[in-house]
Symmetry: C2
């Protein structure tokens, strides 16, 4: 297996990306190919004492300033564009990039293409919930959604939880403002019917509407939302983590006795912090693309790239793409 | 000033509600009238050693099983219905109820009525952000919104932050999936223009689009959202608080040394927990109703009722209703 890593994208590129790539090859036992300015990437590799990793030259870089909808079309020689093109051409099994989410999503859609029959690719991060995690799909790829999109997200999220998180019958819920069947707007009403039918046919384990206060309760494995709502839910949760961590820190530094007490708890709290850190879980898989494309966090350091590469490996081995293809007829309307 | 308290609604009614009412009268120095089954409420009052509080008899109770959209119409003699009718008739200055949000909102709209020109009332809880709090409007009253509704929410939220939180120039943001002006769907695009114009005219301090990760950062005072998104943001945040508190607890109980360290931090952590507890802040004001109606949390105990009553007093004294009325012409389209 060969993982294609975009060496030039992300806040800490190329140093940390290259470092992560070296770690990934060593720890995961897979081949890795780095894409980026050859001389720069090779200098980073040398620093890591690694001289035998494959590097594919790409002279350009897609930045956060580039228009996401046109970036890969306009910058043909950008590391991200080259990486995605290599994936399309079978020169690797998955792409990991810490670059612009929008550019990567558009590029993956245009270059690697969606699975035949899938209307829209979706972002499906796995959030901590005390168990194997909850898949929030879509968390930002599609602002405007149709019931069919959401139904496809439900299926894809369910397959993800099954093949990648190892849940035998993932509980799929529809994010809504109440648990009653009739809650929400037109989009929710129509989606609810589609998911109910899919559930009754035994294709997914649909548990109905789930409110926001159920997201991290461990009572739902896959939460389906339009990308607008899902993105705001995801980032609101991140904001709350940050806010609470800041408050905890203030408590710990408040007095000498607090500092001493906090020192005792330090190790266990660091564990908790790690568990809450979405970057640690790995990247976000772009579900619906015909080959695995993993978006690593923009601020990824080497460990995050390693985690994203691990996820890429799992994604390739999981057979999720085959599972989606095998069920595509059920995932369409009309 | 007289606060009308619905004694029969809420998980802990009537005991805790009555207890809270007695505390409110004592601590806030206002008149309180309790509405509910006279014999039951009076028995509770006796237990509290209070025999001179006004009680208005209402034989029925609106429960969570009642259809919110018809509850106050069908149950004319319910405590909530009678309380709202008293408010309409000037027999008190504000209503506090821990009953069904939907029933209270519908009842307030039908009985007390909206301020002339206001299209929809909105729920505007104040969430902790390390400062004076952030007003999230709407957090669930209106699933389907128009740009005009959102513009009215922005104005009302701004007036709330000004008159009730004491902010001289509240920073108003539009909840969105990115900070760029063009982010979001049609609703956000059109609302953005309206808020931009209101900002340029100096009527609100519009700071643009705000992402989910900015909610609790302290960088925004009023966050405007449709009720569907706002509700999921609010409850997702609550879910994360609960999840993190559970994790913290596990850390504290993990070992004897952790338990001892946690004991040292106990007081300060309790303070933090209190700050994060939305119930402690008080209730949620239903903005846009012609007189103050405060929804206390369904699980309210006496302290929560006291906090909600305090908020009712502030609301009456703030002049927010007058401020909305004085600006209503700017808050309309066409």
């Amino acid at each position: 297996m060969k993982i294609i890593i975009d060496a030039m994208s992300g806040d800490k590129a190329p140093e940390e990306i290259v470092k992560g790539a070296v770690m990934a090859r060593r720890e995961l036992g897979v081949d890795v190919v780095l894409v980026g300015r050859q001389e720069v990437v090779k200098a980073c590799l040398e620093k890591e004492g690694c001289t035998d990793m494959e590097v594919v030259d790409a002279r350009d870089v897609i930045t956060m300033e580039d228009d996401p909808s046109t970036a890969t079309r306009r910058k043909k020689d950008a590391s991200m564009t080259v990486a995605l093109t290599m994936l399309r051409d079978g020169l690797g099994d998955a792409v990991v990039s810490a670059g612009s989410t929008g550019a990567l999503l558009t590029g993956a859609t245009l270059i690697v293409k969606r699975i035949n029959g899938i209307r829209r690719a979706a972002l499906a991060p796995v959030l901590p919930n005390g168990g194997k995690g909850v898949v929030l799909i879509d968390s930002g790829a599609n602002v405007d959604c149709t019931p069919e999109y959401l139904m496809q997200f439900a299926y894809m999220g369910s397959f993800y939880a099954k093949t990648m998180l190892g849940l035998s019958s993932p509980r799929v819920g529809l994010a809504n403002v109440g648990t009653e069947d009739t809650k929400g707007g037109v989009l929710q009403h129509e989606t609810f019917q589609l998911l109910k039918e899919a559930g009754e046919a035994g294709r997914i384990n649909f548990i109905g509407n789930v409110e926001g206060n159920g997201v991290f309760s461990g009572d739902v494995d896959v939460l389906v939302a339009d990308g607008f709502t899902g993105n705001l839910m995801l980032k609101t949760a991140e904001s709350m983590i940050k806010f609470m961590m800041g408050n905890l820190k203030s408590v710990f530094y408040k007095s000498l006795k607090n500092k001493l007490a906090a020192a005792v708890l330090k190790g266990d709290l660091a564990q908790m912090k790690k568990m809450l850190d979405v970057k640690e879980v790995g990247g976000t898989v772009m579900l619906g693309i015909s080959r695995p494309v993993i978006k690593a966090h923009g601020s990824s350091d080497a460990r995050c790239i390693l985690a994203a590469a691990r996820q890429a490996v799992t994604c390739v081995e999981s057979g999720i793409t085959e599972e989606i293809k095998a069920n595509i007829e059920y995932m369409k309307i009309g």
